[in-house]
Amino acid sequence: MLELLQHGFSAVFSIQILILITLGVGVGIIFGAVPGLTAVMAIALSLPLTYSMGPAAGLSLLVALYIGATSGGLISAILLKIPGTPSSIATTFDGGPMMEKGEGVKALGAGIVFSFLGTIASIAALMFIAPWLAKVALRFGPHEYFAIAIFSLTLIATLSTGSMIKGLFSGVLGFVFATVGIAPVDAIRRFTFDIPNLNSGFEILTVLVGVFAISEIIKVAESVRAERKAQVGSVSMKDIKGFGFSLKEFFGQLPNSIRSAFIGIGIGILPGVGAGTSNIVSYIVAKKRSKHPEKFGTGVIDGVVASETANNAGIGGAMIPLLTLGIPGDAVTAILLGGFMIHGIQPGPMLFMSQGDLVYTIFAALILAALMMLVLEFYGLRIFIKLLAVPKHILLPIILVLCVVGAFGLSSRIFDIWTILVFGLVGYGFVKGGIPAAPFIIGFILGPMAETNLRRGLMLSDGNFMGFLSNPIAGGFILLAVASVAWHLFNALRHRKDGVVELLRS
């Protein structure tokens, strides 16, 4: 493994890739920090840049953006008390009060350092678990894949924010849109309305850009005219040694951060729930386990550490199912999946066999990007703070144009631009109806996987559905899927809501 990793590092230590990683982390931090700009947008509009790059360079840029954008949220969470991304919601609880107490730099420093540690811990977990899981998954056939796809779908639909009915609806609707085009196995054209462009169905990337970037721009149009300039708190970087907090504080936070890292990795692995959930859960757990829970919320470093370690630990966690099974956990990993596929890489167990070098290149790029984030985010803080003040009415139209370029660049069709617009409207409708968008994307991606494997599995077992239940792994996952829906239904019927789930949904 060390040898492979060495290979990976030698692949990323080229001037071109180093520059790309630096740029990626920087741009990612900006998109994470500015409320209203998201990691998905950052990756979406950088994708067309990678079309002509080699896979190593392209993927390095994408993962750098991912890491930068995940940690960038802490800047606005602490300075503005507005989470830049959902993954930094819990950071505002204590980061904001720390800023008010004049400990802004300390909060930022701790947030950045523990973001880094969380990222590294999760990359380590990724490097140990993923190759092993890939080996197990190599033996999976259509029965197992069908069951895993169904399990992931129900999990994301039941755990995502909002009501379960809406979550399930969103997931099924994503599946519905994925049935457009030529059907698997018997190659019948479905729902194409005789439009040739629809034969191959909708491109994943156009769907993602539409639902997550275009809809966001339309949503901002609702409120941007009423907006006043945000007051950005200023922090003085003078007389700051190291990262603004003492070694004693660092060691005092280690147990907290280790626990949070485990929570972040564990939740990150589950499909459908990611950093947006783990930061809140780990904050709650840290508060419960603390010797001074009453101080939480008044500006203690523990809160920032718990939230920031956990959200960044989700990065490696979410990459595990993505790389080994081709299952994205959330919108960001879904768009990463789209990016991988543009470069001809199909994540799944075979990836580790056929393109092992590339996998370790990705690991190396992740580690390098994490290091870059540590340095860039703290020492470049002043620049990022300045960028928080860039007016949105200038920024968003330019982002829209870049999304249009990206969609057009997929296969030089104006049709793809119309597609992002349509899905932008779908996404906006979701926002208006309080319907979560993440299940839609997961349904869109996992739907075809479920259908293809259902058809194949039925062919293997001569049209007998029992094949899915008699297979121990497939049966287990289907059982879990049914149990999770039943459990939620049971709770909903009894009107007794589970505490944690309730908190996650609020």
Partner: protein
């Protein structure tokens, strides 16, 4: 609370309609047996309809009576729909004319118009500044992608 119930009911109606439309479309698919290309769409259409009905039933009782604050997702500013519609119109116009007029001109025009539409109410529209940003951004993006990354963005009337 009343508007909330009405909104939830409307969502249920939309969900049910989506399911029914999909069901009708599925029924027009050619059939070859029980398990064929229409099997999964039938299952999906059925689930969509079921979820629509469940949503309608749910909206009838004020389930979240204890938590009215949750109702509107904390919308503080009333939504500014005219701006939303103007923005959508501009994007549609931009996409429709992109290949005939060409990327450089159309993008500059779109950006300029969109900047004006989105300018906050309290701020003055800076025509010269907007025009400069629009033209520069459009040309920079065009050159980078057309010449740096070989992306054949439509050039339209301008041959650059």
């Amino acid at each position: 609370m009343d508007t909330h119930t009405r909104k939830e009911r409307l969502i249920g109606v939309v969900m049910l309609c989506a399911g029914l439309v999909y069901l009708v479309m599925t029924m027009n698919l050619p059939r070859k047996g029980f398990i064929d290309a229409a099997f999964v769409p039938y299952v999906l259409a059925f689930i969509l309809c079921l979820l629509g009905v469940l949503q309608l039933m749910n909206s009838r009782k004020p389930a979240n009576a204890g938590k009215p604050a949750e109702a509107d997702d904390g919308e503080k500013v009333p939504a500014d729909y005219p701006t939303v519609l103007k923005t959508l119109g501009l994007i549609v116009l931009y996409t429709a004319l992109l290949s005939t007029v060409g990327f450089p001109i159309m993008t500059a025009l779109y950006l300029y118009a969109q900047f004006i539409v989105l300018t906050p109410a309290g701020q003055k529209v800076n025509h010269i500044g907007y025009a400069v940003i629009a033209v520069v951004a459009s040309l920079v993006i065009y050159y980078i992608f057309r010449h740096g990354f070989d992306l054949l963005l439509p050039s339209g009337f301008l041959d650059i």
